[in-house]
């Protein structure tokens, strides 16, 4: 089944808002073996919406439309849907009362504009009659086939909930398709071109094996997608390619599929029964935030110190004023003392520290913007290294946090190799 996504909203074509709904919907549909072939965005304009719908029903088997169902004046999608399907726009009582309940439950004031949201084309089915997010669908009669057209709201959280619990199950209920299996390899430390050279023979001449390369700063992601007539054939095919990718790129691999470097580091810390404390300067809390984004991280994450001032480095980590005065806050010596200090004072297994110049200001002679020191202290050893990252303030802090997580992962994988490097 070939699908199409149309997102509606002036905010999308004017670049005010990034189209997260196409991203989500295409990803979820693809993971279920539904092929999304076209994605398009148009403004809140009747003729252009009709035009997009016309094109879509001529080339796709199902259509997911998102946006323009809200209460404000610029929300015209339900009205346009009624025109496209040649139906009246009518107030739906079930829908209206579910909106009323939802507003009440959340303790919000009632606004007359909500009444407009409960209007749908006559005969349209509510996607989630018991829920309160708006959304309806109709079937377009294309002669040889019937094309379901889903109209979803524009708020990402609502789209995600409706798509996951209602739209995809409806779509998957009909239609025979090949079985698709996919694995995502998340890599750090190689360029996209290098990865391409290392893998491109794996899909050459193999129409049922597709390899995709996706820069996902600061990582590079590779997807291996295989197709087969049955699940076990697809599993087998995927296993063969996966073992090749593992063999060739294993040392750059940080995580697979839904896992992340954060969740992997967390898993390894738990397995080894180790605890961690972080002292950050240039990263400003990003490393702590990434580590604690994992549910259950309180089991191994003891504390994080954003020691932005010299005074906090001295008071909280014991970086002596002499070191700071002689070598500066951005130095090998300070990084070592930060890592050792946070480890000792927190009584944890691992102390990790970063200090650097995220820019755009703050460079000093010999220490350009992007100069970063990383230090890791554990098992009575401390490793320290100077890096020079390129990019904006955001890119430099992102790269630093990624390298810090990568250090943790490498340490937890094999501390002898890590400290010997």
């Amino acid at each position: 089944m070939i699908g199409e996504i149309i997102t509606i909203g002036n905010e999308l074509i004017s670049g005010r808002v990034c189209d997260l709904n196409s991203f989500f919907l295409s990803g979820r549909a693809s993971s279920f073996g539904l092929e999304i072939r076209y994605i398009s965005s148009v403004g809140d304009d009747e003729d252009r919406i009709i035009d997009s719908l016309n094109r879509a029903v001529n080339r796709s088997d199902f259509i997911m439309v998102s946006g323009g169902l809200g209460p404000t004046d610029d929300d015209i999608t339900a009205e346009v849907a009624a025109r496209f399907f040649n139906r009246e726009l009518i107030a739906d009582k079930t829908f209206l009362s579910s909106i009323e309940r939802a507003i009440k439950k959340r303790g919000l004031p009632w606004v007359e504009a909500y009444r407009k949201m409960a209007h749908i084309p006559e005969g349209a089915l509510l996607i989630d009659p018991k829920g309160h997010a708006c959304g309806f669908y109709l079937h377009y009669d294309a002669g040889v086939k019937t094309i379901p057209v889903f109209f979803l709201p524009g708020v990402p959280a609502e789209v995600q909930k409706l798509a996951e619990s209602k739209v995809l199950p409806i779509l998957l209920a009909d239609g025979e398709k090949d079985v698709v299996r996919q694995r995502v390899f998340k890599l750090f430390g190689l360029q996209e071109a290098q990865i391409g050279e290392m893998l491109h023979d794996l899909s050459a001449g193999e129409p049922n094996v597709l390899i995709g390369y996706y820069p996902n700063f600061p990582e590079n992601h590779v997807t291996v997608t295989v197709r087969a007539a049955t699940g076990s054939l697809a599993d087998e095919r995927l296993a063969v390619v996966e073992s090749q990718v593992d063999q060739r790129l294993g040392r750059y691999l940080v995580a697979k599929d839904e896992a992340t470097i954060e969740s992997e580091v967390g898993r390894m810390l738990k397995n080894k029964n180790m605890t961690l404390a972080v002292a950050e300067s240039c990263t400003g809390g990003l490393i702590s935030k990434r580590l604690t984004s994992v549910s259950g991280s309180s089991e191994y994450f003891e504390r994080g110190l954003v020691t932005y001032s010299n005074r906090s480095k001295y008071e909280l980590l014991g970086v002596d004023t002499q070191t700071l005065a002689k070598h500066g806050a951005v130095s090998r010596q300070t990084a070592i003392r930060m890592a050792e200090g946070v480890k000792t004072r927190s009584a944890v297994s691992i102390g990790l520290a970063t200090t650097g110049i995220a820019g755009p200001t703050g460079a000093t002679p010999g220490k350009p913007v992007g100069t970063v020191y990383l230090a890791l202290s554990a098992l009575s050893k401390t490793k320290v290294k100077r890096y020079h990252f390129l990019g904006t303030r955001e890119q430099i802090t992102s790269l630093t946090s990624q390298m810090a997580l990568s250090w943790l992962q490498r340490f937890l994988t094999d501390d002898t190799v890590f400290f010997g490097d």
Copy 2:
């Protein structure tokens, strides 16, 4: 001039990667008064790319294409462009040597696949002959007019650089247009529907005033766009609407245009010569990270403590074990002691603290997931409040950090009102 954006890549239609390039290009074009009317994404598929180009040259005045110019097998855009324009694909020597220089400069190993990147359709112009990011453009002869078609890479940082420094200046050099002015209002604490009701009369019957409503979790953004024949007329028109919006929504306004709540809080702290320290539990470093994302934040941000464990709350903030045992880590009493502790021990003007249950686990009787205490201590006073935020772990931490920043902003605006609330 009406423009169109086409992004190319299997990663986009399969939902592996979010289309940040359409987002950026449409935003920048719009801010210069160029109207983007259509955005579409297709996979790395020759026929579908040709099809998109054909449609685009029939309805738009300029086209920006992004993606598929890289070194890997799935990058076919240059080849397809050659076919669409009926030209040979040739190796460009200038381009090849700039790629060679770039690789050398970054100290990266040369990979043969880079050679492929230097192939462009015969007669195409390099967008940045002296740069090393790939990208070229050609003019499509549509009889009555000539349509420039820009082919840009897929890496967001390269797209942004090329668009900003080359593509937009080329486009702006020709064509007369109305002057467009836009102001963005960033709001927190109101629903989209409420905002709509409060503003919709401002654009009713005013074809040259456009108001857009954009949920941007956890904020809501409103854009006011005005058009006029001259710059001073547009400025005047904008000022009238702006003063109305300010009057009606002022108390929910956190920032305008490029400013953010983080940068506003920073500006106010600097103006008042105040310093800040943060103690975070459930937000895990997010508040520190947001505050330090502003360049120059070291002037007022003294330290941030991610006190995840009870021990760290005791050791670093002086939250006594009795308070923790009696009331728990997520309590009014703990929040107060955290804010007062971080303020006193850091010797700053303001101590800010959060403690809560971000979920999905960790709820206790009477303290469901989403229970959060905020506390702010300054000027010998401490304010504390319990919130119950709804959503995922990420949404709850995001809302908590936003509310914390909003507290700072309100305190800095008028501390009497803030503490009196």
